[in-house]
């Protein structure tokens, strides 16, 4: 006689699978179909797997699997994201040339944020939520793209919602899109800061973070809480007070990072190890100079962080052991027609997930009770 596993053990096994397998196994039976779509299963799977990937935008878009990548690897392999993406964003062909990077003029494709496997992408003034793992894509309606100064995207756990936020150049209007409500709201504020250009915010702890300059030209870290929809400033490391200049934020192992950028070359960045605690800002030294830095992720396999340097170079770095090396990406053809664009890569980390960019679903309760006899989430 065949051994049959009880539902909770089937759930356990399925929650460890890659998203591609789960998309296939929706066809197994109606109960598996419903389970794989169940928001509780989606959350369990997300918590379990944390398979990291890169989303790379150059002239085309690519994905890189980091699951088995270690410091010893010499190159990463990029796969072009197929025509399904273009079909779902309803754009015929990605034949535009990326603009040369400039803070005031965004590239043709702009990843605004990545959260739980959902990417928020602006393509020619249209805004999309895209899950590269399930290939589901949704255009956010009525996107008021003009005059954006600060924007950001992320998940707010306590209200189980994804929000996109934009602040206009005057610093007086905040527009917020909620995926749960599939609608926009406006709030009036009175933020006073100098114009430092366009910036994508960094999501940490359910808040989006930017560096802004106040009216005395002092750089500040501004946080917008997605649940309360309120602003506050965070303590910054002393380096920010001592040195003028431009700063950018990043995210590494769930912590906020800060690096200097611009004309000077530096070899350090800062990590706020404990959220909101000034004394926890820690300096990380790396063994090369850079003028622009974006931390991407730390590898699951070893104590190595992956950074994007100077807007085009991926590097592996192990600050503890002082190890550092450049890493090439296979599969992205060089731009030959325009020298200026050759060195441009927009890279973002995302995790494989089943999270849907669509907001409304209805489930039959009896199916849920069958799979989740005990409330475990």
């Amino acid at each position: 006689m065949e051994t049959t596993l009880p539902p909770e053990l089937i759930v356990d096994i399925l929650s460890r699978l890659p998203v591609k397998s789960l998309c296939r196994f929706r066809c197994v039976s109606k109960s598996l179909f419903n389970l794989i779509n169940d928001p509780r299963f989606v959350k369990l799977h997300l918590k379990r797997t944390r398979r990291q990937r890169l989303f790379i935008a150059a002239k085309f878009v690519y994905t890189v699997d980091l699951e088995t990548v270690t410091y010893e690897c010499d190159k990463l392999v990029a796969m072009e994201i197929d025509s399904l993406f273009w079909k779902s964003v309803n754009i015929d062909s990605p034949c535009w040339k990326p603009n040369h990077y400039h803070r005031q003029s965004p590239k043709w494709i702009q990843v605004i944020g990545s959260s739980n496997g959902l990417l928020c992408i602006e393509i020619f003034q249209y805004l999309f939520l895209y899950n590269p793992s399930t290939k589901q894509c949704k255009q956010i309606p009525d996107f008021p793209s003009k005059h954006t100064k600060l924007c950001g995207f992320g998940y707010a756990e306590t209200i189980d919602d994804y929000k996109f936020v934009k602040i206009d150049f005057s610093g007086k209007h905040v527009q917020i899109y909620s995926l749960r409500n599939d609608s926009w709201t406006n709030i009036q504020i009175d933020l006073h800061f100098n114009d430092t250009g366009y910036a994508e915010g960094i999501l940490i702890n359910g808040a989006i973070h930017w560096v802004v300059d106040d009216l005395e030209d002092q750089s500040k870290i501004l946080a917008f809480n997605l649940v309360e929809e309120k602003f506050q400033t965070l303590p910054s490391p002393d380096v920010m007070k001592e040195n003028d200049g431009m700063y950018s934020l990043g995210r590494l192992r769930g912590c906020l990072c800060l690096s200097r950028e611009g004309n000077i070359h530096v070899s350090e960045f800062w990590v706020m190890k404990e959220y909101g605690v000034k004394g926890s800002w820690t300096r990380i030294l790396i063994s090369d100079m850079f003028y622009w830095l974006k931390p991407l992720c730390s590898l699951n396999t070893c104590d190595t962080i992956l950074l994007l340097m100077n807007m085009h170079q991926l590097v592996f770095c192990n600050p503890k052991e002082g190890k550092f090396k450049n890493i090439e990406v296979d599969g992205i053809p060089d731009e030959v027609d325009d020298i200026d664009d050759a060195d441009w890569l927009d890279v973002n980390m995302y995790v494989e997930s089943l999270v849907s960019p669509y907001n409304k679903r209805d489930f039959k309760t009896e199916v849920l009770e069958y799979w989740f006899p005990i409330e475990e989430l």
Binding site: E2, T3, L9, I13, R16, K20, S21, R24, C27, V28
Partner: protein, 180 residues
């Protein structure tokens, strides 16, 4: 054997001689005499002895949901891990553990694997259960829909049209699937 030097020291030889055994009886009536530290990895056994003051060394604990075959597999795993722990109490020798685990599951059929998952779940050995469900996931991750139906013993209750529609919707997910 490298243990000859260690066993000549007085304290360890005396404790190993007196090593306590625990008797566990499987569903088909076989009684296993299991070294205490190994048996205590089975949470159900540990709490049985912790919660019942009137049990003695002669008590035979019945495990009606565990077959003899599954018990052999479970004890092989727990004994190996106890051995790793005894040799290196601070940190398990990771490569050795991985090599043991890989060889250990290669020998198991899908049926045996599922039986052991059920047993590990019943005996409440979270580490082993975690390991085995991970192995099961690896086994099915690149397989066909039909293979997974057979693995879980699930009936296909879609109409042919419904299934064809779903397959079309996720066509890309059917590329590069292993043969059954």
């Amino acid at each position: 054997m490298s243990s000859s030097i260690a066993s000549s020291s007085s304290s360890s030889s005396s404790s190993s001689k007196k090593e306590k055994k625990i008797s566990l009886k499987t569903s088909d009536g076989e009684v296993f005499e299991v070294e205490e530290p190994v048996a205590m990895q089975l949470e159900i056994v540990r709490s049985f002895f912790a919660d019942n003051e009137d049990v003695t060394e002669q008590t035979v604990m019945p495990l009606p949901n565990v077959s003899t075959a599954a018990m052999h597999g479970i004890l092989e795993y727990c004994r190996a891990h106890e051995e790793f722990r005894r040799r290196m109490p601070e940190a398990a020798p990771e490569e050795e553990v991985r090599a043991f685990e890989a060889g250990y599951v290669d020998r198991k059929s899908n049926e045996e694997l599922k039986e052991m998952i059920l047993a590990a779940n019943y005996l409440n050995i979270s580490k082993l259960l975690d390991f085995l469900t991970g192995v099961a996931a690896k086994r099915i991750e690149n397989k066909s829909v039909e293979y997974v139906r057979a693995f879980f013993g699930v009936e296909n209750d879609f109409t042919p049209e419904e299934e064809a529609n779903l397959r079309r919707e996720y066509e890309w997910a059917f590329e590069g699937v292993d043969e059954d």
